[in-house]
């Protein structure tokens, strides 16, 4: 049984050794390397954009916090309608920040190619 298997193996090894196929496209290497370079540049600009996104995100957060701190002072002497409008704006900004935090985290730490 084992002998039979060895026969098969040596026969097939000999048979298939001559039918190996090499890459027939002579421009494959150059084409692929240009594609790789494009990929590298895309990736570099992506990382740069991510850094900028984080920068503006923190700037936005700081501005938001300043707004929250100074809003009660501005609201003094204003009508109820104006106060509600300011608070609605703050809530909207907070929701917006929360939504983008999630997006920014997923892009920065769970990048999928």
């Amino acid at each position: 049984m084992e002998n039979n298997n060895n026969n098969h193996d040596s026969y097939f090894r000999e048979l298939l050794s001559g039918s190996r196929r090499d890459m027939p496209f002579s421009d494959f290497e150059d084409e692929l390397m240009s594609e790789i370079r494009r990929e590298y540049e895309k990736n570099s600009s992506f990382i740069k954009n991510i850094k900028l996104s984080w920068l503006f995100f923190f700037l936005g957060m700081i501005s938001g916090m300043i707004l929250v701190i100074i809003t009660p002072g501005l609201a003094e002497g204003s009508s109820d309608v104006q106060v509600n409008f300011i608070y609605a704006g703050i809530i909207f900004i907070c929701l917006f920040i929360l939504l983008f935090t999630e997006k920014l985290f997923s892009i920065s730490f769970h990048r999928k190619y």
Binding site: L15, L16, R20, P24, E29, R37, Y40
Partner: protein, 185 residues
């Protein structure tokens, strides 16, 4: 050597990646072709595999050889394309040839070039996963254990596929050779 070039690429020397392209493109193409049975599709699969390997090079931990890791990507890409395009054209039919190596003397019947032609044709006619098993085991000379790692198949699946592949290859070659003999005589 591979480790040195991996380090270079990770340090930003993109041209160092050419080493991997030059070193493994032929074997990668051979593997992809055995699955896809078409030169253009095989080239696309290999190209995609190289791009994935480049993107994920920082995730390569060096637990296995680079070639094993890369060929795994190639096989995955080829099988993915094969499933996407529904490439499986082989239909197992009721041909029941009982042939063993002793009865199939392809070397005596045809010239070396014709032999290559017949083997290519027979490889195209057997299912993709069987052709892949044959390529990995006989052309690339991987062990069953290594094929398991490369394909994610179980040991019994590898053995069954090899058994079927050999049987189907004999069958296909026998049909092709008998047709050739009829044409000659």
């Amino acid at each position: 050597m591979d480790e040195l070039y991996i380090r270079k690429v990770l340090d930003g020397d993109i041209d160092a990646f050419k080493y991997f392209v030059h070193q493994y493109k032929d074997r990668a193409f051979n593997l992809a072709f055995s699955v896809l049975k078409n030169e253009f599709d095989a080239r696309d699969a290999v190209q995609e595999a190289y791009i994935i390997a480049f993107r994920k090079l920082d995730k390569f931990r060096g637990k296995s050889k680079f070639s094993t890791w890369f060929f795994r990507i190639v096989i995955n890409e080829a099988l993915k394309s094969s499933n996407k395009y529904g490439k499986e054209e082989y239909i197992a039919d009721a041909r029941t040839y009982s042939v063993d190596p002793g009865h199939l003397e392809i070397n005596d019947v045809v010239s070396r070039d014709q032999q290559k032609y017949f083997i290519d044709k027979a490889m195209k006619n057997i299912p993709s996963n069987e052709a892949l098993a044959l390529t990995l085991f006989y052309m690339e000379e991987y062990t069953i254990e290594e094929i398991k790692q490369l394909t994610g198949w179980t040991e019994s699946k590898v053995k069954v596929l090899l058994h079927r592949a050999r049987k189907n290859m004999y069958q296909e070659l026998n049909i092709l050779l008998s047709t050739e003999k009829k044409t000659l005589y």
